[in-house]
Assembly symmetry: C2
């Protein structure tokens, strides 16, 4: 098996997970969870979104959250999602290291998501890049529904490649392709990634999978076989699917890290500490979350053998 | 990707799933579910266990269930689990096509499970084989905890191979290695399967994985890459883990079939019909079950695009 030696796990729970929670999570709880996550060894995290509080009240405390995050290690990367120039202005005033812009691979999803055409979104990013210019902040871009669109179905790889090219031309340093509604399968993962990497062999390519149809980790396994090394996931599997009430959303971070470690792939993350944060997250959210490992425990945490069983 | 063209999915929900339910499921409901499952195109199913009603009251209606199953197609294979000679006597009087004997790969688990040493279990199977002799019923064998034991941890592949050899010598026609508590990982799957197939290249080898730690389908994906073609799973993911309350048990049949079909592997199973049975199972059991696909729907079952979204 030709797996990479190490992988970067990008935690997205505090943004993608919290964002879907309708009850406001107190700012100090958000900060507690984010600090605990960084303390497990996670190096990159989407910590918030600089979006209108009217659109997503949950993210109204974005600046406050970012400023309270402890940077106990060198090189931590705080990432904030930014939907528009206004968000970019707020983000550059904060202390984030990376802003993340996003556009969908299908017109219908982009329209549904941000009420703009893909072209209009790309135009808007020019303004974002002007705002960011001169600030010490990286810009990366997400391509949503890159593995399938809930309105249009299959999305041509060439469309994803074209959008990636536009984003790179605008100045995005890296691209993350997102399986927003869990439509990716191993053959689609291979097709999209090979198309992108053939066009842009040096591309800093991240992958964001959902477990909506149960195969999120299989898709990651396929991507590992392709040599990819950056994966986004959410602690405890927090985050749902907007198109299927009750369905699972993001791949679960601790389940992913468990798989990676079992494959001999380094992450720099303390899995036991991660499980503790997952349990804390479940406590904070107040309902069972999809993560499996936190329920079952580590593989080699053995059970006592009751010799009395033989009567 | 060198996947097999077709795969046999062996449904185990009516045995492995029902068995763990403490509330008795009415016999007519069991029969309804089993018939519905066979009607989706499933060809092989563990339909019950001929075990003492004192040990597992849920299986007290084993004979009644088996005799009521409709055989609408040629070649359906009704499988019953049999723990001892008494169970074998009852099984051969029924109309099952295969009886399944079982032994653990670790002494502690075998002792815990059936209160016997592995040697004593193997001795008992000699008596089972004498009872079966002359009857038109196949005998296959399960090896439990073949990928790891909750009491002993890692299980040497050579131990699994030795037990497989003993079972084959006794007359078992095929062997299924079982990940009873979800300890398998892709490298362990590879190690155990390669060890068995090196020793017995013609072995009829089935695999039974659990999703206890979230990677059940990844293990199957690895096994597909090894060319294996027989997998056991449970409709809706019914069935828990005896060592981790709240944890998931068996891999979910419809999620597995979805993955297989998306890989271009044939199963002969109607996935939409399977999802209907999964939903019915959830209704019968009366609590949410782990299956993902039944909540999210098929990948290309698209959502209506609301053009009015753009105001």
């Amino acid at each position: 098996m030709g797996f990479p030696d190490s992988v970067t796990v990008v935690e997205v729970g505090p943004r993608d997970g919290f964002q879907r929670e309708t009850t406001f999570i107190p700012t100090e709880i958000k900060i507690e969870i984010i600090n605990a996550l960084f303390n497990t060894g996670i190096g990159q995290m989407e910590v918030t979104s600089f979006i209108s509080p009217k659109a997503i009240p949950q993210m109204a405390d974005a600046s406050e959250v970012v400023s309270a995050i402890e940077r106990r290690r060198e090189g931590l990367r705080l990432i904030a999602l930014v939907p528009n120039p206004k968000g970019a202005e707020n983000a550059v005033r904060s202390e984030v290291d990376e802003i993340r812009i996003f556009v969908s691979a299908s017109e219908s999803h982009n329209l549904s998501n941000v009420n703009r055409s893909i072209e209009e979104s790309l135009m808007g990013f020019q303004e974002v890049m002007r705002i960011v210019a001169g600030h010490e902040v990286a810009v990366n871009a997400d391509i949503a529904v890159a593995f399938g669109c809930p309105f249009e179905g299959n999305v041509p790889s060439e469309q994803v490649r074209w959008i990636a090219g536009q984003l790179l031309a605008l100045g995005a340093e890296g691209i993350t392709v997102c399986d927003t509604t869990g439509m990716a399968t191993p053959p689609i993962v291979r097709r999209v990634c090979e198309c992108l990497l053939t066009a842009y062999p040096e591309l800093d390519l991240g992958l964001h999978f959902h477990n909506t149809r149960g195969i999120g980790l299989v898709n990651i396994y396929e991507a590992l076989n392709l040599g990819l090394t950056t994966f986004e996931s959410s602690i405890a599997g927090l985050g749902g699917c907007p198109f299927a009430p009750g369905a699972t959303g993001n791949v679960c971070t601790e389940d992913l890290v468990y798989l990676l470690h079992e494959l001999g792939i380094q992450t720099g993350i303390d899995l036991r500490a991660l499980i503790k944060v997952a349990k804390r997250m479940e406590e904070v959210i107040g309902r069972p979350l999809p993560g499996q490992l936190m329920k079952a425990g580590l593989r080699l945490d053995l059970h006592p053998f009751n010799k009395e069983v033989r009567k």
